[in-house]
C-alpha cells in the first residue's frame, strides 16, 4: 500500500451510483466494456471538451440570451477531475456531490452575473490537499464556464479541520491568480484536469 498517502483507503462510489442525467445510456455503455472500479478513470462524456455545444443543441433557440447551465452540468464538469493522490475521479470519491452545487441567479435585474457555489468534501478531515483540490475545481470551472459566472469553491462546513483558512485562500482572486503562475502547482492542476479532456 502507499503508506505516504494521506488517505490510503478512500471510499469509492460505484460509478453507476453517480448522478447523471443520462444514466440509461451510460449504463448500456458500461455493459459493453465496463470494468467496474476503474470507470472513474475514464471521462464519461465525450462532449466535456465543449460542454456548451451540447446545451446549445438541446435548447430550442440559439438566439437565447444565455444557455441554461444547471447543477448537473457543473457536476459533469468537475466530477471527472482526478484526485491528486489517487487515480480516481472527484465524483467517485464523493469529494464533489451534486447536492452541494448551487447556482445563484443574478442578484439584480441590471446584472447578468450568476454565481456558482461548489462545496467540496475532502476525503479526510486533515487532508492538506484540500486546497489543491479546491483550486482544481475553481480552475476547471473558470476555464469551462462563460465569464458571466462567478465561482465560489468552499470546503463543506465541518468536514475539514482548517476549512476557514482554506476557504479564504480559495476565495482570494489574487492568490488564485498568483498560484496559476506557479509552474509546479500548475503541473499538479493540469494533471488533475487531464482526465476532463
Amino acid at each position: 500500500m502507499d503508506l505516504d498517502k494521506q488517505n490510503a483507503n478512500p471510499t469509492i462510489l460505484n460509478p453507476s451510483d453517480l448522478p447523471s442525467r443520462r444514466r440509461e445510456s451510460i449504463g448500456k455503455r458500461r455493459n459493453d466494456s465496463g470494468t467496474g472500479l476503474f470507470d472513474g478513470l475514464i471521462p464519461r462524456y465525450n462532449y466535456l471538451n465543449d460542454p456548451f455545444e451540447q446545451s446549445a443543441l438541446s435548447s430550442d433557440s440559439e438566439d437565447e440570451e444565455f444557455e441554461n447551465i444547471d447543477e448537473q452540468e457543473i457536476y459533469d464538469l468537475i466530477s471527472s477531475i482526478s484526485d491528486p493522490e489517487h487515480p480516481l475521479s472527484l465524483g467517485s470519491l464523493a469529494v464533489v456531490n451534486l447536492p452541494d452545487i448551487h447556482i445563484q441567479p443574478p442578484t439584480s435585474p441590471f446584472s447578468s452575473i450568476s454565481t456558482v457555489l461548489v462545496e467540496i468534501t475532502p476525503t479526510i478531515t486533515h487532508c492538506s490537499l484540500a486546497t489543491v483540490i479546491g483550486l482544481g475545481v475553481r480552475v476547471r470551472l473558470e476555464q469551462a464556464l462563460p465569464p458571466r459566472f462567478r465561482i465560489d469553491v468552499r470546503i463543506k462546513k465541518g468536514t475539514h479541520s482548517t476549512d476557514e483558512a482554506v476557504n479564504k485562500q480559495l476565495g482570494d482572486k489574487e492568490r488564485v491568480a498568483a498560484a496559476l503562475e506557479n509552474g509546479t502547482l500548475m503541473g499538479v492542476i493540469r494533471k488533475m484536469l487531464s482526465t476532463c479532456e
Partner: protein, 427 residues
C-alpha cells in the same frame, strides 16, 4: 449585457476604452501626476502607458518582469523625466525612467491646467521607458506599491506579510529604511497620507495598519479592526478638502455644523477602506487632546505612547456591491468616492449634511452622511473590475478646468474612462 441602469441624481457615461486593450487581465491603472497619461499593470507581465488625450497606447513596457505586473505608481514631483515603479508577482519591484523632452517641465501641483500638445511620438530609443533598477527583498508576490507625496519614499507590500519602505538616496540608489511585519497575512495595499509621512496598509488578515517614523524607526501607530474579511484597498482623502467639497458652503450652517467641520479639519484627511465583506468604510483620526495622553497611568515599555494614533470608524457607506470590493478612490477635487469590484459595478458616493436630526452621541457624533449618486452595472461587461480611480480629464471634450474622469481597470483587459454627469430632469 444588462441594458437599463437604476436612476440616481448622476449618471456615469462611458467616454472611451483605451485602445488597444490587453489580451489578458489588467490589474491597476495609475494616472501620471502631471502628464496626460496613465500606466496600467497587466497580467501579461507588461505595463501599458496610454494617452488620456487620444485614448491610445503610447508605450508598452515589456521585458522586465517574469510574472504578472500587479501594481504601478508614478513618482511625484519629477522634472524633465517620468519615473515609474512596477510591482510584480515575481516578488520584485522595478524602476523605469523616460525623459520627457519637448515640453516645459510642468509644475505637478497645477496638473489641472490644459496642455497644448500631445505626447511626442518619435521612434528614438530615448523615447522609450528605460529600466533603471530593481528592488529585491520581498519573498513572494508584490501586491501593491505607493510613492510618498514628496517622492522621498516608496512603500511596497507582499504576500510575505511585510511592508517595505525604500528611500531613494540618489538616482537609482534605493535603501531599505523599514521592514514592517505587523500583519498576519498578505498585505494587499499600501498608500500614503497626503500631508504627513503616514503610511497605511490593508491586509488579508482583515486589518488596516498605520505607520510613522519615530526617532529613526518606522513603527505602527494604529491598528484598525472593523472589516470582517480581507481588506483590499485603503486610501486617504485629499488634503484641505473642507474648502473644496460639500463643506465649502458654510453660509447657512448652525454652530454644531461649524464645530463639526472644525473637528474634521483637526482630524485631517480621513481614510476609506473596502473589503471582501462588501462594505466601504470611512475612518477618522481622533484629534490629539492637549496633554492628557502623557499621564494615562500605564507606561509603555516599548516606546512613548505619544506617537500612537486613535482612528475610529466614522461611516459605513450605503451598500452598493454584492461581491468583494477591490478598490475605492477619493476625488481630490470634489471629495466624491468611487468603488468597484467583483460584481462588475461602479458606484459613486457623495457626502452631505445629515437631513434628519439624530440624538446627540457625545463629541464624536457624525453630522454627515453618504448617498449613492451614480451606479453603473456591468461596467466591464460581465467581467470583474480590479481597480477604479479618478484622473484629470485631458481630451478635447473637457468641459471645465479641472474636470475629472473615472478610470476603471478590468479582468477583460480593458481600461475604461467615464464621465460623471448630472441626470437631466432631476433637481
Amino acid at each position: 449585457m444588462a441594458t437599463s441602469q437604476k436612476t440616481h441624481s448622476h449618471v456615469l457615461q462611458p467616454l472611451a476604452t483605451l485602445s488597444p486593450p490587453s489580451n489578458s487581465r489588467t490589474w491597476q491603472t495609475a494616472p501620471h501626476p502631471s502628464q496626460p497619461i496613465v500606466a496600467t499593470a497587466c497580467s501579461d507581465r507588461s505595463v501599458r502607458v496610454y494617452s488620456l488625450t487620444s485614448f491610445t497606447l503610447l508605450h508598452p513596457i515589456t521585458g522586465g518582469h517574469k510574472r504578472s505586473v500587479r501594481s504601478v505608481g508614478w513618482k511625484p514631483g519629477t522634472r524633465g523625466q517620468s519615473v515609474l515603479a512596477t510591482g510584480s508577482f515575481d516578488a520584485s519591484a522595478g524602476i523605469w525612467r523616460r525623459r520627457e523632452d519637448g515640453g516645459d517641465p510642468q509644475d505637478f501641483t497645477h496638473h489641472g491646467a490644459k496642455r497644448g500638445g500631445e505626447e511626442d511620438d518619435d521612434d528614438d530609443d530615448d523615447d522609450e521607458y528605460q529600466f533603471a533598477c530593481i528592488l529585491d527583498g520581498h519573498e513572494s508576490e508584490i501586491k501593491s506599491l505607493a510613492w510618498s507625496p514628496s517622492g522621498q519614499y516608496l512603500a511596497t507590500c507582499s504576500r510575505d506579510k511585510s511592508v517595505w519602505i525604500w528611500e531613494e538616496l540618489e538616482d537609482d540608489n534605493f535603501e531599505t529604511v523599514a521592514v514592517l511585519q505587523e500583519h498576519d497575512g498578505d498585505v494587499k495595499c499600501v498608500n500614503w497620507h497626503p500631508e504627513e509621512d503616514l503610511l497605511v496598509s490593508a491586509s488579508y488578515d482583515d486589518t488596516v495598519r498605520l505607520y510613522k517614523e519615530d526617532s529613526d524607526d518606522w513603527v505602527q501607530v494604529a491598528a484598525i479592526d472593523g472589516h470582517k474579511m480581507t481588506v483590499w484597498w485603503a486610501e486617504f482623502e485629499g488634503a484641505g478638502m473642507s474648502s473644496k467639497d460639500w463643506r465649502k458652503e458654510t453660509k447657512d450652517l448652525d454652530e454644531k455644523q461649524r464645530n463639526y467641520i472644525e473637528a474634521l479639519e483637526r482630524s485631517g484627511p480621513r481614510l476609506a477602506t473596502c473589503s471582501d465583506d462588501c462594505s466601504v468604510r470611512i475612518w477618522r483620526r481622533k484629534p490629539r487632546e492637549r496633554q492628557d495622553a502623557a499621564n494615562s497611568g500605564i507606561p509603555s515599555i516599548i516606546r512613548s505612547a505619544a506617537i500612537d494614533e486613535e482612528w475610529f470608524q466614522e461611516a459605513v457607506l450605503p451598500q452598493g456591491h454584492s461581491r468583494a470590493i477591490y478598490s475605492v478612490s477619493w476625488s481630490q477635487k470634489t471629495g466624491l468616492l468611487v468603488s468597484a469590484g467583483s460584481d462588475g459595478k461602479i458606484v459613486v458616493y457623495r457626502e452631505r449634511w445629515k437631513t434628519t436630526e439624530s440624538g446627540a452621541h457625545g463629541d464624536q457624533e457624525t453630522l454627515s452622511e453618504w448617498e449613492v449618486v451614480a451606479e453603473f452595472w456591468e461596467a466591464h461587461g460581465v467581467y470583474e473590475i480590479n481597480h477604479v480611480t479618478w484622473a484629470t480629464r485631458r481630451d478635447k471634450g473637457v468641459r471645465w478646468e479641472g474636470e475629472e474622469v473615472i478610470v476603471s481597470t478590468g479582468d477583460d483587459g480593458e481600461v475604461k474612462v467615464w464621465t460623471l454627469n448630472e441626470q437631466s430632469g432631476n433637481s
